[in-house]
Amino acid sequence: MSAAVLGIELAYWQSTLIRVVAGLVAVLLLTGGVVYLYLFKFVSFMQSRLGPMEAGPYGSLQLLAEVGKWLQKEDIHTEDSDRLVFGLAPAVVLSSTFLMFVVIPAGPDLVIANLGTGVYYVLAVSALSVLGILMAGWASANKYALMGALRAGGQLIAYELPMVLAVLGVVIMAGSLNLQDIVAAQAGGEIFGFSGIGNPYVLTQFVAFAVFMIAVQAELTQTPFDMPIAESELVAGYQVEYSGIRFLVYFISEFATAVAFAAVASTLFLGGWALPTSWGLSAGVMNVVGPLVVATKAVLLVGVVFWVRFSFPRFREDQLQKLAWKVLIPIALANILVTAVFKVAF
């Protein structure tokens, strides 16, 4: 990535360092921006209030104040908790989040690792967070935490399936598992002979897009699907015993995962870093414009997630499972079939 952009030869460790630091900065900036924009402001406006206004202009430094508050808190754990697993669980969840960003392309050369099986990798790595959540629930030695973790396990596994099946439609259309190839297929594609705006798969794979976004909502355990952390019955689910810096890690990973899934969705369905038409921009220019394009798309999609989150009440546990197994999975399977037929026919 960096070597191609800067046109200089870097040692492996140098380019790796640049990639990691750039990735971390981008992820944390995007996450902070999303938290401020949606969790603090958009939601407040939806509830006819202003949200934080004191820390910085229009409360823009509120997140820093919150992070400062969490950092000074005492590191507590329950007496019976398995301390090693308890401390490791947030790290597992956070690393699952950060690993998702590895394959998301932000420009023709701007990708940390251009894997041939990028889609497969993203979905597999995102499923790792279940492990961290189950570890947290078990190690907390708290029945609420355990029940929340088991609910999360059941829910995340149930919604993995429609998500994977929905993505298969895109993979069939693009004919590749590589995210760069999928972006290129959308930019150079055509919809029944019309190639003015390429073929962003949200237009031709709208069923898959809807299923994917519903499954993302559930994977993020955001509100209509927040049974695992249902505060009225489970206090805070698997996060019950966490406070201070460990809770901060959960908080970051919750919103960074939202950004990651939104970036994946915008890569798979909205054309990724490519603009609707090429505008005659060279690859070098797209390396600068591309990150902005994909970030804008991702932030808008996160906005949809938060919009849904703060509009709806919570599903019951059985309704939640029913939606996944009886509605989303059949729809996604039918979508694969129809997509395959169309792919062969046209």
Binding site: F42, S44, F45, M46, Q47, S48, R49, L50, M53, W307, V308, F310, S311, F312
Partner: protein, 190 residues
């Protein structure tokens, strides 16, 4: 089926927007009205669109009969203890001693009265039920809408009779009630 063949078919309900989309519409409209109270083409002004008030900077006028704080008119209190005994939280503390007050008329006997030594309300316990105000037969206790008397130390929420008396000037005059009910109306002694 008890329906006869001639009975009119029930009207089908009009097709409606699914509730899911309707809910999304409600939240988005509220966000729009908060962000752009003057319409989408005008500059955003959320501080006017929001239903809330940024408290320390701007304050809402409490309703005149709001239950903010209880005030004491010391001269009217006879230390009858009714308020203290009716208080569900036992947050009123009264101590008094008997003393002689000057006679009302020339040449009369000095009157025996109870002089207050202590009349404290512990606002850290008070639950603002208003039973003490209701039960006072001598018009010594009143509600005031003042509400800004929080303290960093919980012990400072114990207001003594001087502090309670200071609130009295904030008590609003009661509105006149309908004709015929004046007899029972408690009046603010001014």
């Amino acid at each position: 089926m008890s329906d006869t063949p001639s009975s009119p078919r029930p009207k089908l309900p009009k097709p409606q927007l699914p509730g899911v989309l309707k809910g999304l519409g409600v939240t988005l409209r509220t966000a729009k009205e908060t962000m752009f109270p003057d319409g989408l083409l005008r500059p955003p002004a959320p501080s006017r669109g929001a239903a809330t008030v940024q408290y320390p900077h701007e304050k809402e006028e409490p309703a005149p009969r709001a239950r903010g704080v209880i005030t004491l008119v010391e001269d009217n209190c006879t230390a009858c203890m009714l308020c203290a005994r009716e208080c569900p939280d036992w947050c009123i503390y009264i101590e008094a001693h008997k003393t002689l007050a000057p006679p009302r008329r020339e040449g009369g006997k000095p009157r025996q009265v109870n002089a207050l030594d202590r009349f404290d309300i512990d606002y850290s316990l008070c639950m603002y039920c208003g039973i003490c105000v209701e039960v006072c037969p001598f018009e010594a206790l009143f509600w005031s809408p003042e509400y800004e008397y929080s303290e960093p130390r919980i012990a400072d929420l114990l207001h003594d009779k001087e502090r309670l008396g200071e609130w009295f000037e904030t008590v609003p005059d009661f509105e006149a009630l309908e004709a015929g009910s004046e007899v029972k109306v408690k009046k603010v002694p001014r």
